[in-house]
Symmetry: C2
Subunit: 471 residues, 2 copies
């Protein structure tokens, strides 16, 4: 094993001008938006500007057995890009070029550091759209979206990131550059390594380029529905009645009583006065050619389920309804430190999951206001603790025991209802201890063996997704 | 290594009543619809009725190092289910139960042997639909569709099989049962092994169950457009103009001059009189809420591109147009022995690919009438040779050298235009010699190492997808 100074010297020799060891750069790489902070600063930040830089960094890491953590904008919610002592941070944020937009093939070829929102602004000029729509889209990178298989608000209708990527250029641990996938709509030559890399959280390779499948921008007026219900069970039943009738809304967002109350307080008395004193909120949007007809039918179903429904095709009124949903997270941050969870359950079990969350709140004393992407059964229970502004404390120390306990119970409840630990945020550090619970021992072992095929020395983002070896 | 009689004895002891060694059973397993026939009959056909049967067969194959070829309906077009000397055939056709249809979760849980068409008939009773739509759907199994990542006519709008599968139950080579994926719409826990298994052609594991993502049946009238063009270049340009304008037709099928001429002869003078003397054909269909408007806009674009266009919302008239497309393959079979190819190119290169095919015809003297799923750039050049009814001759002997040469040139041309060897039929035996050309050496080696993780003794469908070891 090469000692630390040697690794630094190697990096600086091979990557002149690209190695940053300034204290603030190292400090920034210790956290992301998960609330985790590594116990110590990493070795160096390599600011890659091109594929060859990534290859050089990987070769050095591989040869010296030095852990390497790839990082984009650092907006992850699971600690996947958090770097610690002795680790090289490979920052690909500067690799942000759009290499090609082809309206004829409906593809874009991009570098990983481009922001989702910046890409979509460019694509809109061509009447095109890359559908992955995480809430972070204006501040998160396309490479990060791919590494986590990001979801968002529009997945039930428009799919997750995996469905929007045709090919990937990937640098392996040893520096080898591979071109995976294809540029065509269809292609079944060999194993689908593109899909395997999507959501692999930086543990199998470094994404240095992507060929993205685009959609035409959806044309025509949108119809937005805001429904207020007596409680979250009624709102969840309304959501179920909409999907059960065969509708596929563009988005369908649910906020429980505690979240809506926080939003009411957050938006202030003037706007808050328009909201009911108590109850839950269901936001639904129809788009495309049948939007008017679909919107009317869904509004009727929501009313039949006991909702007080506002329906609008006016963009300004729609924006006011959307703003309620967007306020949910800032409103909860104002109450304390939020740990955002991400379980997904089969749609039909959503009401049960809400009931379980209430039980866990009662048992642990932790407040867990919850919102959900109701179209796809993906819940975001937010465990709120302490006072506002504590995000980014020392990992595992700032988060009280009762919160960890509540989180563990949430995961167990989600799995028990036929769900999954994480719908869209990833495993990272946050859920690695629970990975075996979902996968089972045999699949867990198989996944570790696949990891070893790509990265025999275990240098790529070690300790993320999988728990570190007991040794 | 255990000798052959021992393997048979083991199978008969562990799987009483399930081992078929009748000559006709063994003979049937030597072929599929690719035209390949193995040089000798396999050892035995195990007719699995339940998961435990599959596990027992795998354990025996694993312990005795005996090759095992999983087989559904045998409708593959790449030789993926062809079995030969010394091999166990694992027939899962009898595992054909629909275990659950959940309209609330929009999923179905099925065994692999159910036919796609039979499943969809059942789903239609619930207003639901499993979208994968290979031409073989009435005779091919869901398990086979998944093993090949089947495509079909509707992919540009409704996706390929990979997008319609949430989870898989898989038996590994050593008999271990794994449950991969999830029942939820979203889920990012660990590597996406479900996606890795889809399209793996029986080389990584045996699919014994699947959780399928369903769609609501598309409501409303369809609009069907039949366009006749002077030649295939004009028809391809019309297709490009339709997608370039942002339309996403449900299907868009192209037939070149030679295919249309064969269809005209095949349907007989009465029906054939309605078709133009020469030219190419473009079939387009719009569905869903905007069908009428979309259909009219697409018809206008096709006319502007020089087409004579029939537009209809009448199901009977639409059926007459669809029948032309469906007649293409039988019409070519009437001319000789067809070897159906399956290259896909970026949409924008489709006209170029047609030009290359004309050059290859001229150079090799092999007739190559070609149709295409024009919405996704997937071409089916059909190499026609000999006389009608020769399908299923001895592998590699019945197919003339000039045909292999032409096929090789087709693959090379497809790759040169940025395409792929196979859009939807798979690699199997037919294209394994070309796999390295598309993947490159480094990716090819990586894929072989992944195969070894799942199947360390190489017993699962050996010689398919990858070329056998030189040893």
């Amino acid at each position: 094993m090469t000692t630390t100074p040697d690794v630094l010297a190697l990096l600086e020799r091979e990557l002149p001008g690209r190695v940053d060891t300034a204290a603030e750069a190292l400090e920034a790489a210790r956290t992301d938006r998960s609330g985790h902070r590594s116990p110590a600063a990493p070795l160096a930040v390599v600011r890659a500007g091109r594929v060859e830089d990534v290859q050089a960094a990987c070769r050095i890491a591989h040869a010296t057995r030095t852990p390497l953590v790839t990082r984009g904008a650092g907006t992850g919610l699971a600690g996947g890009a958090v770097a610690g002592a002795g680790e090289i941070v490979l920052d690909v944020r500067a690799m942000d070029r759009i290499l090609e937009v082809s309206p004829a093939d409906r593809v874009a070829v991009v570098e990983p550091g481009i922001l989702n929102g910046a890409l979509n602004a460019r694509l809109a000029e061509h009447g095109l759209w890359w559908a992955p729509d995480p809430a972070s889209k204006d501040i998160s990178t396309v490479g990060g979206n791919i590494a986590m298989n990001a979801g968002g608000l529009l997945c039930a209708k428009y799919g997750v990131t995996r469905e929007a990527v045709l090919g990937l250029d990937v640098v392996l641990a040893d520096g080898t550059l591979l071109r995976l996938g294809h540029r065509t709509v269809k292609g079944v030559t060999g194993y689908d390594l593109t899909a395997l890399l999507i959501g692999s959280e930086g543990t199998l390779g470094v994404i240095v380029g992507a060929t993205l499948a685009l959609r035409p921008l959806v044309r025509g007026a949108q119809v937005t529905l805001g429904g207020f219900f007596s409680d979250v069970v009624a709102a969840a039943a309304a959501a179920q009645s909409v999907t059960g009738a065969g509708h596929v809304p563009a988005l369908m967002e649910l906020m429980d009583e505690a979240t809506l109350a926080a939003v009411r307080a957050y938006v202030g008395p003037e706007l808050g006065a328009a909201l009911p004193e108590r109850g839950a909120f269901l936001l639904v949007q129809a788009d495309g050619a049948g939007a008017a007809e679909d919107g009317a039918a869904m509004a009727a179903l929501m009313e039949a389920a006991g909702g007080a429904v506002t329906a609008t095709a006016d963009p300004r009124e729609a924006e006011a309804l959307m703003a309620l949903r967007r306020s949910a997270f800032p409103a909860l941050e104002a109450l304390g430190t939020p740990l955002v969870e991400d379980v997904a359950v089969p749609r039909s079990r959503m009401a049960e999951m809400f009931a379980r969350i209430r039980e866990i709140e009662a048992r642990t004393g932790v407040a867990i206001p919850t919102s959900a992407h109701a179209g796809d059964g993906n819940l975001h229970p937010v465990l709120v603790f302490g006072s506002a502004g504590e995000v980014g404390g020392e990992a595992g120390t700032a988060i009280p025991e009762a919160v960890w306990e509540a989180a563990g119970e949430l995961f167990a409840a989600g799995l028990e209802l036929g769900g999954t630990l994480t719908g869209e945020h990833g495993v990272g550090l946050l859920k690695r201890a629970f990975l075996r619970d979902e996968l089972g021992e045999a699949q867990h072992a198989l996944q570790e063996r696949i990891k070893a095929v790509f990265d025999p020395h275990g240098i790529l983002n070690p300790g993320k997704m999988f728990t570190p070896d007991a040794a």
